[in-house]
Amino acid sequence: MSESDRTDAARYWRGLEERTPDAALQVQLRPEFTPQADVAPQGLDRRHFMQVMGASFALAGLGACTRQPVEELVPYARPPEDLVPGRPLYFATALTLGGFASGVLVESHTGRPTKIEGNPEHPSSLGATDRFAQAALLDLYDPDRSRAVLHLQRIRSWEAFLQVLEPALEAQVPLQGAGLRILSGSSTSPTLAAQMQRIRARFPQARWHRYETVSRDGLRSATLAAFGRYVEVRYDFSQADVVVALDSDFLTTGPGCVRYAKDFMARRRVREGQYGMSRLYCIESTPSATGAVADHRLSLPPAQQLACAFALAFECGVHGTGVLGPAGAGDLEKWRQIIGLDLREHAGRSIVIAGDESPVELQALALAMNQRLGNLGRSVIVSEPIEVEPTSHIGSLRDLVQDMRAGQVELLLVLGGNPVYDAPADLDFTAAMAKVPLRAHLAFAEDETSESCHWHLPLAHELETWSDARAHDGTVSVMQPLIDPLFGGKSMHELLAVVAGDKERNGIDIVRRTWTERLGADFDTRWRRILHDGVVAGSEEPLLPLELQRDSLTQLFLGVASDLAPRLERRNDSLEVVFRVDPTVHDGRFANNGWLQELPKPWTRLTWDNAALLAPATAARLGLANEDMVELEQGTRKVRAPVWVLPGQPEDVVTLHLGYGRRRVGRVGTGAGFDAHPLRTSAGLVHASGLRLRPTGEQVKLACTQLQHAMEGRHLVREGSLSEFRDHPHFAQEMGHGVHAPTSLYPGFEYEGRAWGMVVDLGACTGCNACVVACNAENNIPVVGKAQVRKGREMHWLRIDRYFEGSAEDPRVVQQPVMCMHCENAPCEPVCPVGATSHGKEGLNEMVYNRCVGTRYCANNCPYKVRRFNFLQYADQETEVLKMLRNPDVTVRTRGVMEKCTYCVQRINQTRIQIKKEDRPLRDGEILTACQQVCPSDAIIFGDINDPNSKVAKLRQQPLHYGILEELNTRPRTTYLARVTNPNPERGAAAGHAGDVRGH
């Protein structure tokens, strides 16, 4: 290794441990191999060892001698239409989060859904999905779902509940429903809207309250101030040259995020001779996945961030924002000018976007800037609300609590949600609810809220339900069930039909009633078309030409600005707290989903836990380190949490993720993380100051995948700025050591016919993790649990490595998906003593599970650390309902077997058989691997590299193309396109862009 090499390798670091003075020691603590892989067994002498091994060998041999048992064939008595056993059917439906739909196509094997894909015709999906949609499948088959109607924890029937509910409703009729309250989350369902109208007709005094942790209240209030009415705001990133994100994680969370990632990354795809690229500034108070992609990221405490947004708005010429004066210290002042200039230069072709969780002032500033820049109607589209009856969630919940406390509520129906867990602490929702004489909770599983209700009613999963919902642009989808409710759940519509006193009480009749009224003539044909396509064509909300109400906005700004000035004075003794929903378990609704729990979170790479995130400087000042327990105190409320020191976290800000610490949850979520809700009040839903932190002296263990599977930092990630790429297109290839001429006595293998290869575009990867969950679902990958993850035994075939670059205070982040490289000279193959891993004619590095005896030589010899070993029986083969989850085209592995990415060989084989039967050549793009299909930003491309016209072959000719560890002569088939960023030339050097690092 030359000197320049060493400095260059040190440019990227994976964790703070690598930057401490005794880095060598620290790295030793996290060895290259999984623990115990290179440790001789202790306390076992040679003779005893031989005895044990001999006996194991003999028993293992005998164990293999089973005569095949007789199995059964069970055909249908009467076959369903169109069903060919062994061939999946696909149905279009939609899944919702926060009420907004994303269209999906669900693969169904003889009636059981096994995989979810995006619906290419759905505007929020265009064929891709996010991680939550992928993981919905595991929720469907969750063995901890509720299976019965419960009354005071005792099993009753739905009919028994109706016998209680219907008289209670009858009693409300003369009161016009004054004592009836319904609480639910946001909804966009036209059927729900119609039902609510019918309920109002029967009970004019009844009220419908809304509450969600991610309420989007800020945006709603901002549109009210800006336009005098509620409207929906959506974005067209294909029209944006400059994007400024204020705490917005638009690439990976929120309505339309999949579409936004696709459009945004399409504008950043640079190739040889094609240098047009948008620029992203992120100004955020807690690190987000979008921030990791940004060309420039400013990490500021909430007050400073707001001041910065004010200054930026002033720079754009927004009325009423000049009151604050210059935006803080010198550096921020420079940023204001630079970003402001960039925005003004791209007026009409820029976007300022605030996050779904951001408060009203940030949202209003963003709207005002967009209006001032002329973006409204171009890149920022304002339309009629998509939600049904939009309302302020916190206001709505506060009203409900007031009414309950006053004893005005006689019947409360909670539809989904978990307000006992996630309502702001100061409202004391639980105590207020206890005053309601009859309360029922329709929920997916027994949770904190159902504990406090008289009745618990099982809610059917969205894949079991007839419903409808709208996309982020308003396009309507009708949702159809893939399977009958597994545990007899009911949908919201079915419960509301009882309340409305409707005749139609079956899901399908209720939804058909809505659509019979809407579609009118020729219902059957149109209905079938809608169900087939998964969307109602042409139903998106058109643009609303609205004028901004300058006066009310100015008033809002003046009010906020006068409050802001004292907040900018930093007090030394307390910290600011920022609340965010968790990137993987969201608001807690996915707490029992193992796929999401085990998904490493962006930035921290933590699994199975949340933590109090602290900046390195803050942690140093307080004398805290990773995994130290602290007591957080906000007013009179206290919470105990472990500390995680996160480079890039703003100083004196503690980020707490919500959704963990669930008290009443299934076996997966029990004991995971801590509950931050006790610190969250209705006055400080997003952030609050005055947090005190006290170390308890205790330590807990967290499962972080950050330092596992080390590859010894050898130019694995390569990146450059746009100007660098333009001047030296081959910069990435020059960074490598080059590939040595093969020194082999044998002639090389000629790949005639097809040769599979994959290219991963690092510039397009958002680190959203959808690919990891998709791989889990497609390949029957087991969940191993926190203790096993701590030992580096997670089974993900595809991992996303995260590297920091730059200072600990303000690092940049580079992310790299790593899966099996399918090396042409695969180091794993020659070391297998039983020939369980071998090389296919098309270049696949194949794994034969039934031959593997678990020596693990292959994993030790893999320089990419992509092989995963079943140390224990991880795959659950006992739980009946989980058997329905498995992909029947992929073996479920047992203990003692090695496994790894197969390039989704089952999909390759199916297509190969298909094209052979049709006697035609392979079409490029016909085989999609699971990770490729789900990727919102098209960062993964798979195909035949021997076909010069294939996309993957063309990408391999790009100057940005490189392979990792190619110098080992492994000849990897999975290769990468270096990341190109587009820093503002004015700030290029300051942003830590080392344009000088190249070659040696």
Binding site: E72, E846, Y849
Partner: protein
């Protein structure tokens, strides 16, 4: 000094050593034979079925095409086991009162499926696809034997990997014209070798021996 061991001990020692080696070899040989035996593979075993269905009668006797019942053999990996409704197409008229067919009628009445014992059963880690074999001109009888002569169905092949590979290494030896795939009585013509070579070219038959062809 007198000898401790008698002369014969030498012979005894030789016999013991030789015998041990012989015994080990014999045991291994026996295990191999057992592993390949029809007992072990259940090749000739007739399994107990809910109804004693005769391929000999239905195929050989009245000449029903394979695809009348095994409908998905040309389209899917799984050839398909006929639903009760298929049986009842005829047996609602013919032998409609036969006590042997009562399980079939009961299944049709109640909607409860018949539970057949699986005769030709590959291990679960093997992914076999009927449709591609049929499309490439491999006749049913190549694996299932003269099913048209089986009054009660039994497996005709050992279904062990060596047996699969015998054909996968030289697939051209088992080809027949596509039109004759479902014809159990087809006999190769005199110029079989030339015809098969021509078919192999026409059907683009290749030897598929990658592990991932069957294991994934």
């Amino acid at each position: 000094m007198p000898q401790i061991f008698h002369h014969s001990t030498n012979t005894l020692a030789r016999v013991t050593i030789f015998g041990a080696a012989f015994l080990v070899a014999a045991a291994l040989g026996a295990a191999t034979l057992l592993d390949r035996s029809a007992y072990w593979t259940r090749q000739t075993e007739v399994l107990k079925q809910p109804v004693p269905f005769s391929h000999d009668h239905h195929v050989g006797g009245i000449g029903i095409d394979c695809r009348y019942c095994h409908t998905s053999v040309e389209n899917a990996a799984f050839a398909g086991i006929p639903p009760t409704a298929t049986c009842m197409n005829c047996h609602s008229q013919i032998w409609a009162d036969s006590p042997t067919l009562e399980p079939v009628r009961e299944s049709f009445r109640t909607g409860q499926p018949l539970r057949w014992a699986r005769v030709t059963d590959l291990p679960d880690f093997v992914y076999f696809d009927h449709s591609i074999h049929v499309a490439k001109g491999i006749g049913c009888v190549e694996c299932h034997g003269r099913i048209d002569r089986m009054p009660l169905t039994h497996m005709a092949s050992p279904l062990q990997m060596r047996w699969c590979l015998d054909c996968h290494r030289h697939p051209e030896k088992r080809l027949r014209p596509r039109a004759e795939v479902f014809n159990a009585k087809w006999e190769p013509p005199a110029n079989a070798e030339a015809m098969r070579a021509q078919l192999a070219e026409e059907y683009r038959v290749t030897s598929m021996t990658d592990c991932s062809t069957c294991h994934r």
